[in-house]
Structures are given as C-alpha cells and as structure tokens.
C-alpha cells in the first residue's frame, strides 16, 4: 500500500492537533493551578478538612470556668440548674479572660481558614446578664409547646415584675437550696454557750437583747448567724463593734455560736408603735414573705427570721441596705423603693410578730 494511501486526511490531522494542544493546556493548567490535595480523599480539596477542623472552639464548657470560679461552680453543681451550663447564660467564654491566657490554658493550633462572618469575637469580660427577667423567661415563661416538666411562670402575675434574682439565686434557683449549702458544718451548742459570754453584754445572756437597736439572736436562723459573723470577720459587712468582735473568732467558734443562739428560745421584742402602723406594714410585707416567711419566720437557714426582732434594729437595717452600708444585691433592690414611712410600718409589723 502506498504511503499516500495510509495518510489521514489533512483536516482530521488538524483537528487532532487542536485536541492535543487543548488537552496539553488543560493538563498544564491542572498541574499549575489545582490544589495538591485535591482528590486525595475524594473529589474535593483534602486540605479543606483540616482547615475546617482547625477552628478554635468558642464554647469552653463548665470545666474551663471552674478553673477560676470554683466557688460559683460548686454552688451551681449543687443546685437544680446544673443542667444549664455557664455559657448558656453568660455567653461563650472563647478567650476569656484574655487571648494570651487562653492559649496557655488549652487552645492549641492556629486557624488559617477564611471565616464566613469575618473575625471571631474576643470576650475579655463575660456578660453578667443585666435583665434577669428577660433572660430567665426565655426558658421559664409559661407558653404552649413547653413540656409540662419545665418550670414555667405566668410572667405578668409572678413577683410583680421584679427582677428574678431578687428572690432566686440564678446559680441555684430553688429557694432554700443555696442557703442550705452555705450553712456549713453543724456547730456545738454547748461549746457555743461558753464562747457566747462576750456577746451577752449587748445581745443578752440568752440571746434576747434588751436594747432596742441591738438584735436578739435567740432562735435566729443558724446559717444566717454564721454567715453574718463570717461577713463581719472578713469585712464584707463592716461594723465598728462587730468587726472587732468577730475578728478573733475561728470558723469553728462561729459554727458553735450559731448553733447555741439558733437553739436558744426566743422572745419577741414587741412593737411600741400603733396597731395601725403595724397593719399598714403587714400589707407591705407581702414582698418580703417569699424569703422571710409569711409570719416573719424564715424557712431558709440562710435568710433571717424577722418576727419579734427589735423595731429600731429593723429600721436601721433597712436604711443601711438603702444607703449601701449593708451590701446585699437582693435587699438593696427591695429596700431602694421604700419610703421612710414604709420602713417604719414594716419594722412595726415584724417587731410585733411572735417569734419561733
């Protein structure tokens, strides 16, 4: 067969040549421009997986918070809110308290991935929710669709629009639960009697004060007594007389004293004010009842009973909460709205009640 006979037609050769050049360009472009990791695991860029996995976690979990806020953490784990992690209410910890510290704590690896919504937030300080009503009702507002097991309140009729934290500790919201935790080890009442000699001059030999400005201690809540002495000792509750007295007490002493006084039988101071004043106070006292008891006898070891306390002492205490001399977030909020007359009415009402 002649050479000319086996040669392909020229237009076919030209076409094949164009295909070959096109193929070569595509191959070179693929080598030059396609990511090296493309197709390593499948039809995608293999490096993308590691890039996505390299993002740093923002939610760190309760263990991360515990490393600094151990006390709050313990309070939280003991209460019914332990199913709600810190960051659900306070927001993501991310690099809190600072970027530098966070790297040394547990965040390793740097992110090179292009983030979709730009840069990440860097919280230096976490939010302490200012509006507890807004926050708490996210879960606890009575609403069709919420399971019956979920604790829900009718917002309009519950606590008259007050902030939730006035009565509830958000870390352990069940009323009474947090206080029981704080009461500490039970003291020895007999040992407390001996140590109480120094207290008798002002608070009476059996804890019943004869002075209108000094409170009776007999029958008072044990946890409250211990907490008050600890606060005097630490300086959290400054008082010229009590701070000096409490400074020398050990924690065991405080437990013994609290046991002695809480076991002692009380005697109501009584009110010298008119019955009219007391009945006006009774109407105002509805807001106090959820913590201090309907009849002024607290059901919670951490919160004091008010029934039968000295009238002048009660007036002074409420005024001290108003001025900030006595610091307590719950009481400050409640006392703020009271007029001088209302304070007098409340004091008259509680002083006249029977103690227990």
């Amino acid at each position: 067969m002649a050479d000319s006979e086996s040669r392909m037609p020229r237009h076919i050769v030209r076409l094949l040549l164009i295909f070959a050049i096109g193929g070569a360009i595509a191959l070179i472009a693929r080598i030059l421009f396609q990511d090296k990791s493309y197709g390593r695991y499948g039809i995608y860029r293999g490096d993308a997986v590691a890039e996505i996995a390299a993002d740093e976690p923002m939610y760190q979990g309760p263990g991360y918070c515990q490393s600094c806020h151990a006390e709050r953490h313990a309070e939280w784990t003991a209460g019914i809110h332990k199913v709600v992690v810190c960051e659900t209410c306070h927001g993501a910890a991310a690099k809190h308290p600072s970027a530098k510290a966070a790297v040394t704590v547990d965040l390793a690896g740097k992110s090179t991935r292009v983030r979709i919504a730009g840069e990440r937030l860097e919280h230096i300080k976490l939010a302490i929710p200012a509006d507890s009503v807004k926050l708490c009702t996210l879960c606890h507002e009575k609403m069709p669709g919420r399971p019956a097991a979920q604790k829900q309140i009718e917002v309009s009729s519950h606590a008259g629009g007050q902030q939730c934290i006035v009565c509830h500790n958000p870390h352990s919201p069940k009323i009474g639960a947090a206080g029981a935790q704080k009461a500490g080890k039970p003291g020895d009442a007999a040992a407390g009697r001996k140590k109480a000699a120094a207290c008798a001059a002002c608070h009476g030999a059996e804890g019943v004060s004869g002075n209108p400005e000094w409170p009776s201690l007999a029958g008072q809540q044990r946890g409250y007594l211990a907490g008050a002495l600890l606060a005097y000792k630490s300086g959290a509750r400054p008082d010229p007389m009590m701070s000096a007295q409490a400074k020398g007490l050990s924690e065991a002493d405080i437990g013994d004293l609290a046991a002695f006084y809480s076991d002692a039988s009380c005697k109501a101071a009584g009110s010298k004010s008119s019955a009219q004043l007391a009945s006006a106070g009774k109407a105002k006292a509805a807001a106090c009842a959820s913590c201090h008891g309907a009849e002024g006898v607290s059901g919670n070891p951490a919160w004091p009973s008010l029934a039968g306390l000295q009238e002048a002492y009660l007036v002074n205490a409420l005024k001290a909460y108003q001025s900030g001399a006595r610091r307590n977030p719950m009481m400050a909020g409640l006392a703020k709205g009271l007029s001088e007359a209302e304070i007098g009415q409340l004091a008259a009402y509680y002083a006249g009640l029977k103690c227990k």
């Binding site: 067969m1 000319s4 006979e5 086996s6 493309y38 197709g39 390593r40 695991y41 499948g42 039809i43 995608y44 860029r45 293999g46 490096d47 993308a48 997986v49 590691a50 996505i52 996995a53 390299a54 993002d55 740093e56 976690p57 923002m58 939610y59 979990g61 199913v83 709600v84 992690v85 960051e87 659900t88 927001g91 993501a92 991310a94 690896g109 991935r113 292009v114 983030r115 979709i116 919504a117 730009g118 840069e119 990440r120 937030l121 996210l138 879960c139 507002e141 009575k142 609403m143 069709p144 669709g145 919420r146 399971p147 979920q150």
Partner: protein
C-alpha cells in the same frame, strides 16, 4: 478517493485492534489509580494525626428529643457565636420551629425565630426568642422542633456541586470548602430540608458542620453543649454506649422525609407527620 469501493481495507481491522488494546491498557491504569485512591481515603488525615483523631474510626450521629425542647433558642445563639454565622434573623445553621395545633384547625401553625412576631418579641434581629402569641388561644397540641443539617448518607447537595466544594467525610459529616465554593447555590436548591443558606456577603453557601472543629477535638457541638434540657443528643454511632447509640436504641426514632432516599443521620423523637 484512495480506496476503491468494495476493496478490502486491512487498516480498519488494524485500527480496531489498536483501539481494543488501548482500552485494556487504559482500564488497567485507571483501575490501579483507583486502588491507590481508595487506600488514600482509608488513611487518617495527616493534619489531624497530631490530635489523635482518626476520621475512619467514627460515625457521628445526632438525636433530637422534641418532647424536651422548650424553645429557648440558646442552641441558635450558641451556633451563631461558635461558628461566626451572620447574626441576622435569616441565616442559620440550626433553627427551631414551633408547631401549634389549634382546636378546630386541621393544619398546624408553624413559625420559627425568623418570624417577624418573634423578632419583635426579642427586640432585635440578633437576639432570638419565641413570642407568646398562643397564650390565650385554644391550643390542642404544641411542640418545638430543633432542626439542623441531617448529614445525609446520600447527600443530594454533594451530588449537584459542580466544583467539588462540598463533600462528605468518612466520619459522616457534610462539609463545605469555602475556598472552592463559587456560590452557585445549586446545593441550596438540592437540599430537601432547607438546611443550607447562602451568605450574600461572602458569596458562599453555609451549612451546619456539627461543629467539626469541636467534635474532632472530643467536644460536643456548641448547640448540644448549650442546650439546657438535653433535647439535643450527640455521639458516635460506632460506640454502642454513646449517647446517640442509646438514644436510637431506647427510643422509636424517625428521620425527616425518609422517602427522599437521603438516609439522614439526625434522629427525631416526639414529632408529628407535618414536620418535614
């Protein structure tokens, strides 16, 4: 014409023989390349090897217990923060729907946090809460349903991607390579669950990754971490004692739109047939 009609043409047979040979060689070559490729797939990602994470050893799964959900939307908040999702009320990787069956009505009323009434209740597009619109209504039945990407066994979104920007990892998560995504939104259309959204600012598609950066570190996804009522369950389906394996074993679970043939990996408890 070089050839005469009817004349024997030996080069035609030669060409057929050549083509046959070429097919055999090419087939062998492709087969061996394919084998190599498969071996590559089985190996753990070198970049994650330092973390001790082997993506061939896990098969992640997600559970939703709608009987527990209280509609607080802390999962949505957590997801947005954790993953840097746009804060506005219309772009979500996870969201919550409310189904309310009123007395005398056949179809449920459905709303989510993106509903104008709910935006008004929260006071801002960047905060999320359900309003109490059914407070005084005659409600026969109502429940909340958290939703997120189902991380399907057979993901239609991956099938339609023209550039290989979205893929399914061996540990069972569908991811998006935002460097390769061209923003064509084919995948947004393909997903029967509406789990993908388009980010107009960055011109890429976005979706839930089950917090791939967290689960590869041994953490739970952010929404699971933040959920205050354990309505979201997460774990490894390869481990029979993981929360998700127990959840599937101990409950009568269902998946969304099983007829689509996607084989979802998000398992629901306590939802009605209207939930798709």
């Amino acid at each position: 014409m070089k050839w005469k009609i009817g004349e024997h043409r030996p080069d035609r047979r030669r060409l057929l023989r050549l083509l046959g040979r070429a097919f055999v060689y090419a087939g062998t070559a492709l087969f061996s390349v394919g084998l190599m490729g498969r071996r590559g797939l089985a190996a753990a990602i070198p970049a994650l090897a330092g973390t001790g994470y082997d993506w061939t050893k896990h098969r992640w799964g997600f559970g939703i217990d709608a009987t527990r959900c209280i509609g607080c939307l802390r999962c949505v908040e957590a997801c947005k923060t954790e993953n840097g999702v746009s804060r506005d009320a219309h772009h979500f990787r996870t969201w919550v729907e409310r189904y309310v069956y009123l007395k005398g009505e056949k179809a449920p009323r459905i709303d989510s946090q993106a509903d104008p009434g709910n935006i008004a209740a929260s006071g801002s597009e960047t905060e999320y809460r359900f309003d109490n619109r059914y407070r005084d209504a005659k409600v026969e039945k109502a429940f909340f349903v958290p939703k997120l990407c189902n991380q399907c066994e057979h993901p239609p979104c991956v099938q339609v991607c023209p550039v290989g920007a979205t893929f399914r990892t061996p540990d069972g998560v569908v991811l998006i390579d935002h460097d390769y995504c061209i923003g064509c939104q084919y995948c947004v259309q393909a997903c029967p669950y509406g789990a993908r959204s388009f980010n107009p600012k960055h011109e890429v598609t976005d979706k839930c990754t089950w917090c791939y950066h967290r689960i590869t570190r041994g953490l739970k996804p952010a929404c699971v971490e933040a959920c205050p009522v354990d309505a979201r369950i997460f774990g490894d389906q390869n481990d029979p004692e993981s929360p998700i394996s127990r959840f599937i074993r101990e409950n009568r679970v269902q998946v969304l739109q099983p007829a689509m043939g996607t084989s979802p990996n998000v398992f629901y408890v306590g939802i009605e047939k209207e939930v798709v």
